[in-house]
């Protein structure tokens, strides 16, 4: 396809922003040290804010998705509101939106690493992001509740987000299966779940962050805050030279040239390289928002 913007390849940003693509993997690795801290399970009573299986032998916090599904399944037996879970996700979402997806999530980091393997990535239509809300409402909230009303405890539910989750397969299923194999008892993870894990890894070679873009209920929930979170991305029209760099650097398929604080964004901040999109934090005073003047 011929680009309708003339000479976009030759246009260079007026004042390039920070190139954060080198810093991000280091911070993601640092956060991995927090989520996989071998400190025992004494923090398992607190839900984390990233997608990470609480059955992983090294996990430090509880998985917010698993906790939400457990609460839903508990509903027929005891009406309990997960105040702590809702509160923590509200704080994280309202402060940073989906920033944790791009910078702190261990499963996102894994997909970023898999995405660096050469096969050319397939672009997905934007609407696939809405399936995350189907997963959130259907698999995480409604299904456990319906099966709970049938008297099936969450742990015995044959179909549940935990039984279908590739993060659970990788972080819990694989370590325990390897342990079992070493003890001479064979592979204990079901072949169905092993297949899910292998399919996910294969998908991650051809689609950038397939789990985040299509299925992640937590990312979908946090992305709802992108439109009003304190941390956000701001467009500076004076800096925009229509170089196409912002949209070209976005691996999530967001139409960055139209709007950037949208639900498809994981706030990796790669688009800020061009300098026209800049990270900003909302402050109580009337701050210096860039005006809509025509660039010189």
């Amino acid at each position: 396809m011929e680009c309708p913007v003339p000479n976009c390849q030759q246009r260079e940003p007026v004042a390039p922003g920070w190139n954060l693509s080198r810093l991000r993997p280091w911070l993601q690795t640092g956060f991995l040290g927090i989520w996989l801290a071998p400190v025992g399970r004494w923090l398992h009573g607190i839900p984390g804010c990233v997608f990470h299986c609480y059955s992983c032998p090294l996990s430090s916090f509880a998985c917010p998705v698993g906790v939400a599904a457990n609460y839903a399944a508990l509903l027929p037996a005891a009406f309990e509101v997960p105040y702590l879970l809702i509160g923590l996700l509200l704080v994280v979402g309202a402060v940073s939106g989906s920033l944790v997806c791009g910078w702190a999530c261990p499963f996102g980091f894994l997909q970023d690493l898999l995405g660096k393997i050469p096969p050319r990535k397939i672009s997905l239509p934007g609407w696939v992001g809405y399936t995350r809300y189907v997963v959130l409402v259907g698999l995480v909230l409604l299904l456990p509740m319906i099966l709970g009303f049938k008297g099936i405890p969450y742990e015995n539910q044959v179909v549940s987000i935990c039984r279908l989750c590739p993060a659970g397969a990788l972080e819990a299923g694989v370590p325990y299966s390897v342990q079992s194999v070493l003890a001479g008892k064979g592979w204990i993870m079901s072949w169905f779940k092993t297949g899910i894990l292998l399919s996910f890894i294969a998908a991650a070679l051809f689609i950038h962050r397939p789990w985040c873009r299509i299925f992640c209920p937590l990312g979908g929930f946090l992305a709802l805050f992108n439109r009003f979170s304190l941390f956000h991305l701001r467009f500076n029209p004076q800096q925009c030279v229509e170089c196409n760099l912002c949209r070209s650097r976005c691996s999530m398929g967001v139409k960055v040239d139209q709007a950037v604080n949208v639900t498809g964004c994981i706030r990796c901040l790669e688009c800020t390289t061009c300098g026209a999109l800049e990270p900003a934090f909302a402050l109580p005073k009337k701050d210096s928002a860039p005006s809509k003047e025509t660039p010189a």
Binding site: C3, P4, V5, C8, Q9, R41, G45, I46, P47, Y54, S55, A62, V67, N70, L74, A77, A78, F79, E80, Y83, L84, I86, G87, L88, L90, V91, G93, A94, V95, P153, Y154, E155, C162, R163, A172, G173, Y176, F228, S229, L230, L233, R234, F235, C240, E242, N244, L245, R247, S248, K255, D257, Q258, A259, A280, A282, P284, A289, P290, K292, T294
Partner: protein, 120 residues
């Protein structure tokens, strides 16, 4: 870097996407209150020890297989003894106990000492 084609944009007409402070701040405030309250909140679920489980204990029970359902509690197995006479007596006693057993008053409870590595 190879740049992907995109429709021409008019920077002057594009929304700057500036966010106000107050909606985010109010959400943070509500979240903070809920999280703080939740951390100190006692649920309506009992522990195996007889006390009331806190929300943190309940969350921890989810990840360690510590949630017990009354419907899932199996009755004790019938006794098996070497001496047939003693076994018959024990079986009779066991059958009477089962007949007189009342269902537990709780629907679910939390075992705070549970350590199942992968509940599902």
């Amino acid at each position: 870097m190879k740049r992907i084609p995109q429709p021409p944009v008019n920077p002057a007409l594009r929304d700057v996407e500036h966010h106000d402070f107050w909606p985010g701040f109010i959400a943070v405030l509500i979240g903070g209150v809920l999280a703080f309250g939740g951390a100190r909140h006692l649920t309506g679920v009992d522990t195996v020890g007889g006390s009331t489980a806190s929300e943190i204990q309940l969350v921890k029970a989810f990840s360690s297989g510590g949630v017990q359902y009354a419907s899932q509690i199996a009755p004790p197995p019938p006794p098996k003894l070497e001496d047939p006479a003693a076994e018959a007596e024990a079986l009779d006693r066991w059958a009477k106990q089962q007949a007189n057993a009342t269902p537990p008053s709780w629907k679910i409870r939390v075992d705070t000492d549970a350590k199942t590595s992968c509940p599902t």
